[in-house]
């Protein structure tokens, strides 16, 4: 419910974005692995910000420990994105060549979707810690 509420302003922003620019995003729609890449890359940005904060001598030791622990918990989850995204690419090629059926392709999408769903909250948790420390 909380997440659903948070999605409403995002949709509003999307409407604004569609008026502000018209990039060729159809290619993104055909490449779900881009979402996984965007998520892992976003985590790297957040993780860097967490390291900046943790290295600040003014940061309380308790927060520093929490940042370290959050990264330790999140990193294995984030690291699952790459192999599944690369598997997605391989499956799509196999499907295009007629070597596998659509159900196998759907399984790849489901696996990637699950990894994305797992990674999103840990990314959010690290960001929340950073927000609380600033």
């Amino acid at each position: 419910m909380r997440a659903a509420r948070s999605f409403a302003p995002v949709l509003a922003l999307l409407l604004l974005a569609s008026c502000a620019s018209a990039p060729t995003w159809q290619q993104v729609d055909a490449r779900p692995e881009l979402i996984a890449f965007a998520l892992a890359s976003s985590y790297a940005v957040v993780q860097g910000a967490a390291a900046d904060l943790a290295e600040d001598p003014a940061t309380p030791a308790e927060l520093r420990r929490a940042l370290i622990a959050a990264d330790e918990a999140a990193l294995p989850i984030v690291m699952r994105l790459r192999p599944l995204a690369e598997e997605m690419v391989a499956l799509r090629e196999e499907f295009a060549e007629g070597n596998i059926d659509a159900s196998r392709l759907r399984t790849g999408i489901t696996n990637l979707d699950a990894a994305i769903a797992d990674a999103a909250p840990v990314l959010q948790a690290l960001l929340d810690l950073i927000r609380g420390g600033r």
Binding site: A17, W25, Q26, V46, A51
Partner: protein, 95 residues
């Protein structure tokens, strides 16, 4: 294009997947929220976000391979920086 516009364009990039149900919208919403939040920071994270958006746009248009090695290096670097800050083991643990 200012930071907010870039963030909005990135959200637009993610929208088709969310709207057609390929990705769980409620989970992805958290990611979109944080990208928006990062875009409002006037610090290094904001600059990195702008670079990320430009990279994603290029990747989407080029249909080329994704530079995962760069991401892995960044993740390893950030993790090493945080691990280096871990408290030392308590004295007396070794004889």
């Amino acid at each position: 294009m200012d930071t907010l516009s870039r963030v909005l364009a990135l959200l637009a990039a993610l929208a088709p997947l969310v709207l057609r149900g390929a990705v769980d919208a409620t989970r992805v919403a958290a990611v979109l929220d944080l990208i928006v939040a990062l875009g409002h920071h006037g610090d290094r994270a904001s600059a990195e976000l702008r670079a990320l958006h430009e990279q994603l746009q290029h990747l989407a248009e080029s249909d080329g391979p994704l530079p995962w090695d760069d991401v892995d290096l960044a993740l390893a670097d950030g993790h090493a920086r945080l691990q280096a800050l871990k408290d030392p083991p308590p004295p007396g643990g070794e004889t």
